[in-house]
Amino acid sequence: MGEKILMKGNEAIGEAAIRAGCRHFFGYPITPQNELPEYMARRLPEVGGVMVQAESEIAAINMVYGAAGAGARVMTSSSSPGISLKQEGLSYIAAAELPCVIVNMVRGGPGLGGIQPAQSDYWQATKGGGHGDYRMLVLAPASLQEMVDLVRDAFALADKYRNPVMILGDGMLGQMMEPVMFKDEEVRELPAKEWATTGTRNHPGRNVINSLYLQPDRLEAHNEHLQRKYAQMAANEVRYESVNVEDADLVVAAFGSTARIVRSAMEAARQEGLRVGLIRPITLWPFPEEAFQQAAKTAKAFLSVEMSAGQMVEDVRLAVNGQKPVYFYGRTGGMIPTPEAVLEKFKKILGGEA
């Protein structure tokens, strides 16, 4: 369908998932992502799918484990406190190598926090919020159209690597409305999954979905296999957008809706003759290290702007590796940085006051 429709971010994810062939959704309500399960509850039965409101987030993620193990294209969504509850399940899913998509519309934390937007689950998403050595691909859209496109890619990447993929948004992206277009053909045939419990047609015996390895050498071998897979993901799947970096004195890192605020501030700065550029990671893991390493050759300083107390800034520092100073500006608790305050920070850094 080439027609634009006006959607809320949460609804757009739902429709994009359905068009990507997702027919199973398991969730539990929490603000500010409720429109997504609501949308799925309304739409999935129309296309022969199933939406279950589980008794808890923990139940929902384990239903995802089951459905993914049976070869289904499956999704769950929540917001920060609910995503914390899912961490055990995510670790199991990563260990059992099950493809699925998890959406986190981040809200202010820690604890129950509030219901306004935040990005303070960056560490949880990119460093493995659950136990053990595992990785998730983490995609961070900045517009609703990009969200729609990334949801489709997320399912394909999940299948390609047999790995969970997280869409990390924030309450603002979930709640705001923008026109979106569903450009791609609807997915009707899913790739064959011979590893799944349902994939035994062409070979004898059973497929077992499991994450328990009691013999340490077997577990180590499994870990080595996973690490090789993560290295492949890191080598092949980095995505970022880079704007005005070539001549920039100050290179700013920002993702998601914060990147749009930084972009406004950057345009204002350029009007005033300040050479500011933006690197917007689209994959938060794998992090676009190389983009920062390259920029460190020409830029004088870096700044990370986040709706957190400073999380992604650590990855920027690791990438820049001491070559140039890396500054931070953030708001927390659901407060949103203003373009004016961000511009002020640019001026301080470029004026040597930061």
Binding site: L6, E11, M172, Q175, M176, I261, G334
Partner: protein, 237 residues
Amino acid sequence: MLPLQISLKGLTELLSPNKRLVFFVGGYGSGKTEVAVNYALHWSHQTTDLSLVDLDIVNPYFRSREQAQLVSRAGIKVIAPAGALATADLPAVPPEIIGVIQDTRRKAVFDIGGDETGARVLGRFHHLIPQHEYEMWFVFNACRPFSRAVEPTVALLHAIEKISRLSVTGLVNNTNLMQFTDLSLLQRGEAVAFAVGEAIGVPLVMNTVACTLVDKAAAQLSAPILPLQLFMKRPWE
């Protein structure tokens, strides 16, 4: 505060409703808040004792209470959950609402939450609302996923009437794609609106059109136009 150089056909009548209570209901994300805030601001030029009641208890963001300062400056009393409740998504209904409904000298614009879920809150007041003193206007946007055709729009309208135990008395065509709105889209929206109106025997009371498009739209649309200033901005705008 709204620069209106052009005289729009039917606008004066539109802003002198015969009823003192105007409820804006409609689908989730149909634009009720933007319409309610604009309508209240326009109406405030022609009347006194006007309140804007934020009865949206289903939406966590982008509610009319966020425009409280602007609306208060126009002399409109804002009634919405205060303090910590203002940023919550709790079914908190301020007690002053009953005063507005019962005091026949006062007028009010009500911004109701979306879908039948959002309209449920009206049912709690229906026994206090006199039949002849209210308008209930159904806002819809033909670019929203569940309002693109007549049938689902009518079904939603009936669901809202059932749960609120009030009757829709008029339609508001708020068809838009934000910055991508053009004349042909406005005309398509009006056509859907007339078809919905015909199906249920309710008039199209207004088209809402962004100020920048009003000039051109005036010649193309048949129902009155309410010029919209867009207040619900995102942080980078």
